[in-house]
């Protein structure tokens, strides 16, 4: 599976590398545009020392954690959200006649190596925050768990978004609210949002487990909204449940695919 993905990704990268100027430019642009998010955080903290009780470096930590997971999925999975384009163009059929899962092929389709710029930016921010905060290593072990959990959650969200497009063929942008919107939401401490919103991203769409709940543990903090301590460790379970739901939805989507007229 990994080798098949790598082969597909490599082929697309080689095709894109035929235009090296644009390739490099896109990496730089990806780096710069996501750096603007950080600039916004820095501007906020130029005017205040804490945001709902969190310091600048703590906010950068939460931002960096969510962004690493998101940027990795954006690079490796997000192409799945073009499924409605393939349905409309009739090109989905060609994925379905291959002996490899359509999900894997669609994720790798037109693989865009220049998204590495965003991943690098996110890794830098997270690395800076972890170093600056001098986190206790008895708690910091959760950081890799958190990043992997986040990757699974975002990958599952994208898969759900792709599955939804089998039904919502004419409104593919609708589902972006959950993927890109989910990332926007997780960039700040969740306690800045209304309590009902936080509840729904904890118990319905488990975005709170991308960085918020495990992040609170890493930072050695109590939840300002008062969830119990064991919630910090439920991320992997929540991610697994969402991934299962996404896999089922995807299967249903494929089984109910109607193809085009010819």
């Amino acid at each position: 599976m990994v080798s098949t993905y790598a082969r597909l990704a490599w082929t697309w990268t080689r095709a894109a590398a035929a235009y090296p100027g644009s390739f490099v430019l896109m990496i730089v642009l990806g780096f710069v545009t996501t750096a603007l998010d950080v600039a916004v955080i820095l501007v906020v903290f130029a005017n205040t020392t804490t945001l709902v009780g969190f310091s600048r470096d703590e906010v950068l930590f939460l931002y960096g954690a969510a962004s690493v997971s998101f940027a990795i999925c954006d690079m490796f999975v997000s192409n799945i959200d073009r499924v409605s384009q393939h349905i409309k163009a009739g090109t989905l059929d060609t994925f379905l006649i291959r002996p490899v899962s359509a999900w894997l092929q669609l994720c790798a389709d037109r693989f865009n190596a220049n998204r590495i710029g965003r991943v690098l930016q996110a890794v830098l921010v997270l690395g800076y925050a972890v170093a600056a905060l001098e986190l206790d290593w008895r708690r910091a072990w959760i950081i890799p768990v958190m990043v992997i959990t986040g990757i699974v959650i975002f990958a599952a969200l994208w898969t759900l978004a792709g599955a939804a497009q089998f039904v919502l063929t004419d409104a593919p942008e609708l589902v972006n609210a959950f993927t890109y919107g989910g990332h926007q939401l997780t960039q700040y401490p969740l306690s800045i949002y209304a309590r009902d919103l936080v509840r729904s991203v904890t118990y319905v769409l488990p975005l709170a487990f991308v960085n918020w709940q495990p992040g609170l543990y890493a930072l050695g903090r109590d939840d300002p909204l008062g969830t119990p301590e064991f919630m910090r460790f439920l991320g992997p379970a929540a991610a697994l449940a969402l991934a299962l739901a996404a896999a089922l939805a995807w299967r249903q989507g494929i089984r109910h695919y109607r193809s085009t007229g010819s």
Partner: protein, 249 residues
């Protein structure tokens, strides 16, 4: 090799149920070369898509190479080759050779077998001149030859062709027909061919099936087909009679 038992596929279109294919039963044995005819919208493409597992039948059963296509789609993919004349299965922006290399990887064809098969296909389909050209720059005839080669690199037992000669000039058509005839005769590959070009049928198919309004309207040899009409009728006239005769709309 192919078995359909009362297979049907319906679609909901604006709250009405439309039966693209209904109660379709037929069997194709290994090594047969079958022409699959029908007017536009008769259900030919729907049948083909059920055969390769793209569409799940809404009733009845479909078996290809002993497998249920919609449930065992990726397993079946290794044993079936599919060519859509209307659309390429190759990677649009990649050179033909890169597409083939990807296919080798996707189908896990071993390197030695791949090399000898590709050499043979490149030779019989005359791919040499454009194998390094991106697919989007190929002419229709070149692209179709590339698509045929791509569908056969994994040496499938069954080859399903959906209008492979559509839009081709007479020379390209003749080349493709000759290639298909030899593939069937020398390798014993089972071939199911849909086409609107009755020349394809006359030159290639021993058996003809005709589908109309989602039902099988004729199944027999080419000779039987010709016998349904008065003597001296051309195949075009025979088929036209069947299309309008069984239409009943």
């Amino acid at each position: 090799m192919i078995e359909l038992d009362r297979a049907g596929r319906s679609f909901k279109v604006k709250r009405r149920l439309v039966h693209a294919v209904r109660d379709l039963s037929f069997a194709v044995s290994p090594g047969e070369f079958v022409g699959y005819l029908g007017p536009n919208g008769a259900g030919k493409s729907t049948t083909i898509k059920m055969l390769c597992g793209i569409l799940t039948p809404t009733s009845g059963t479909v078996r290809v190479a002993g497998l249920d296509p919609s449930r065992k789609r990726t397993t079946l993919a290794r044993r079936i080759g599919v060519v859509f004349g209307q659309r390429t299965t190759l990677w649009w922006d990649l050179p033909l050779a890169d597409s083939f290399e990807l296919i080798r990887h996707l189908y896990k064809v071993d390197r030695a077998a791949f090399r000898s098969r590709l050499a043979e296909l490149a030779d019989t389909l005359d791919l040499g001149a454009f194998i390094r050209t991106p697919v989007r720059q190929l002419s229709l005839g070149q692209r179709m030859r590339g698509d045929l080669a791509a569908a056969l690199l994994h040496a499938p037992d069954v080859l399903v062709l959906d209008e492979p000669t559509i839009g081709l000039d007479v020379v390209s058509k003749a080349g493709i027909r000759d290639f298909l005839r030899r593939l069937n005769a020398e390798r014993g590959t089972t071939v199911l061919l849909t086409t609107h070009d009755l020349g394809d049928i006359e030159r290639l198919c021993r058996r003809v099936m005709l589908i109309d309004h989602g039902r099988l309207a004729f199944d027999g040899t080419l000779g039987d087909l010709m016998a349904t009409a008065p003597d001296q009728s051309s195949i075009e006239e025979v088929v036209a009679r069947l299309y309008t005769g069984s239409g009943a709309t």
